[in-house]
Amino acid sequence: MNLSGQTKTLVTFWGTRGSISTPGRITEKYGGNTPCVSIHNQDTVIIVDAGTGIRNLGLELLREANGKGSPLTLHLFLSHTHWDHIQGLPFFQPAYRESTRLTIYGSSKKEMFLASVLKGQMDYEYFPVSMSTLTADIRIQEMSAERIRLGPIEIDWEEQVYHPAGSVRYGFNVYGKRIVFATDVELDLMFGKGKKTEKEKLHAEQYLRFIHGADLLIADGQFTEEEYSDRIGWGHSSIPVVLEAAFSARVKQLAIFHHDPQHSDKFLDEMWMKHRTRFGADEHDMDLFWAREGLTLAI
């Protein structure tokens, strides 16, 4: 399967589940792996988050690289370092190959240096292989204020404060198209019911500006409205609030992401059916779907 043979930008979902991996019959369709998305444009390969889904991506990248006999140059952008977003990294096979060059990007505004966090999860109390045995050329880069340019893709980002310990949202801009990855954020605190402070209003404006007109927005939609009322402060959004925000920012295609571990395929199908009729029929159409593993879109 050739992942990079087309000139279009290809976005593939390798893990869409939030919080913890959920293998099993009832999650087979949308998938049980935790967050990982790849963005390919010709030879530029970007990975966003290293949840358990990155394991399958690694195997696929190696299959392709072995076929061509070429080294891999990969760029991994981390939204944050909670387990479900980094736990697949020790199982990412290209990291055990000397010819791989892997640059890992993350926020510089954390209490601990990004490298320490990643190294910590491979401490021998947690994992049998230490990070130093990853033979790839690995560079860990805490991002500065400057935009990053990788081949034809330019990346901008913003810190998100409405998640415990924070997270980063990314914008990937390529040939006039914009893909936004903005998960692990509690939008209800900015857009939900109740009076908002000036700071919350400002954060809401910044968010809307960032996602405005995105060709694809991959957004946290972990909870239903009913579930959210018992999970305030957990750092995740309720689906209706995400839909309203994306629609008002004229997002063209919205992928609901970071599915709750308790949500079965049947439940997610029902949620999709319930909401798509509402947002699919308006005059400024927003294409809406629930992200699922093994799905590749062209942007």
Binding site: M1, K29, F289, G294, T296, A298
Partner: protein
């Protein structure tokens, strides 16, 4: 199914595990197929195997639909990593799975595929295979 037999010696309890019934069969994929849903097309079922299947308007295709909106070579179904995938062969009108325009997608039971207005349903069935 296992049967547990307890033996007490006064101090500890030893549990002997006795295998009384070994499963005689395991579930395996029996068949996977595409069912044509469009009323204008002849009702038939397309069996899927490990060989690639190309769908389109051209006579070279394994599955042919003489429909204007179907490209000459529109889509390919292939078996990869123990699952069936479908991919768009750069068709003019695109390939949709459950209404989402895709380039490639791992197929799951009851996925609805739309290519140029022709609608197909993907199905997989499993049966018990004797050991």
């Amino acid at each position: 199914m296992t049967k547990w037999a307890e033996k007490r010696d006064g101090f500890t309890t030893t549990v002997e595990m006795v295998r009384v019934n070994i499963p005689e069969s395991v579930p395996v994929r029996e068949r996977a197929y595409l069912q044509i849903l469009s009323p204008q097309e002849r009702k038939r079922v397309i069996e899927l195997g490990e060989k690639d299947i190309v769908i389109g308007r051209s006579p070279e295709c394994d599955i042919r639909f003489i429909v204007e909106n179907v490209s000459r070579k529109h889509a390919r179904v292939f078996f990869h990593n123990e699952e069936f995938m479908i991919e768009d062969l750069e068709s003019t009108n695109g390939l949709f799975v459950n209404g989402v325009k895709i380039v490639r997608c791992a197929l799951r039971n009851n996925d609805q595929i739309d290519l140029g207005g022709v609608k197909l349903l993907f199905n997989e069935e499993k049966r018990l295979q004797p050991r």
